[in-house]
Symmetry: D2
Subunit: 140 residues, 4 copies
């Protein structure tokens, strides 16, 4: 995990699989979101509480490459690395590895901006939390 | 709709919305998938039946730009245009418009390949169905 | 529909189906909820707006009998009849019929109470809306 | 857990919560199903593999009492007790407890039958697996 700032282990639930017998494409976005929110928790931020304070982390772009499908019973690791792009954008580079063989299943880049009362605010708000947690955020 | 090959009208369901009071990001992938499957139906293909014959349309890449969020009660139009890239890839350029004002909410490019018994097969199989339905598939 | 106060027609979406190739059991609760919320809309109530005013319709009991499963492509009708039980409880008797042959797929009773700022309030609030819409609410 | 045959600990994921800021009612059925399937795994049965062999565990009735709602971040325990009713029915009595205070959030009874190639078969098939795992199945 040396290259990543956070990781989370989960297991496929049968109801997440579709007719093809594999995890439905949309569900990976659920996994990735859950990993991001758990990461925010780990650095002292709470997505639900932030929302109640008028602050929302908004996904503006999601790019997912599906390499191999997860199947019922598979255990997997979601990894996350934070980057910053310009004054507003916080980028989450994420990947999903199958646990048994460390195989890369999904690679994703999720681009977010922070809004306060629906207006974009500087990414500094988040980056300060990350720094305090000892994370050096790369600019790209 | 002149630029698109298919469109589908749906309405947001409250359970598709999350704590932020807007449609959850992952749900748009559900909408886009449902539109693609309805399109396949319209040209004479059935996703579930194809799967039983060992043929699967597999998403290998999804790129989504989230412009504005859909909210409870919103009616929206999903539009779809087919393109082909090389011998294997069928690309679905899709967008979601809010119905009341035709505002662009989500823009997406979904890249798929066809597999038979898990091995990639030529996109010709699909393209022939599209042609028979009078659709000229642009190469990109 | 003579016996029911509201009905809604929907179509199964492939992503709602699971490994068994049929609509997942939990998804029927989504269908039933969507029908209830559309019904509330039809009598002039908005679930999301009510929530913002501190008023929530809370499900306290759900009883579902699964007769036959819906499958990919099936169109179905959800029907709803309102009943009242005591000062607090509003009961939604609901059923799901497959459209092609009117076959009963799911039968459900959903028991709800209304809360304002998390405390139960009289069902009169809802029943008055129903009466204004010309619906006579049976006591059970 | 003395009274139960199996339990599973999970944590609420934010995307499982709806506009009301609480776990959506349908999602509890997902939790309960996941617990049942994990239990089947624990006694040597695999839901997905069974399906491929033509054997399906089919839910014919679900009764859920919603006591208190789970919220973002809550950790919870799902407990399960197996019972048998007549030659065909296997009943799962399940409950969901919030972990911090052991508070009962949801109580459920899920009634299932086993089918082979769509026809009901005796519950003995399952009960033998349970017995081999040292579980005495009460008749009700």
């Amino acid at each position: 995990m040396s290259d990543f700032h956070f990781e989370l282990e989960l297991q496929v639930r049968d109801y997440e699989c579709d007719i093809q017998g594999i995890v439905n494409n949309a569900v990976y976005q659920n996994y990735l979101e859950h990993c991001r929110h758990q990461f925010l928790n780990a650095v002292g931020l709470d997505f639900a509480r932030l929302h109640n304070d008028g602050i929302d982390a908004v996904v503006i772009k999601a790019e997912l490459e599906y390499k191999f499908p997860l199947r019922p019973g598979d255990t997997f690791i979601i990894q996350l690395k934070i980057k910053r792009h310009g004054p507003l954008r916080v980028i989450f580079d994420q990947q999903i590895l199958r646990k048994t063989d460390n195989k890369l299943m999904v690679k994703a880049r999720i681009t977010t901006v922070l809004t306060k009362n629906k207006r974009p605010i500087s990414a500094d708000f988040l980056v300060e939390y990350f720094n305090r947690a000892g994370i050096v955020v790369e600019e790209i």
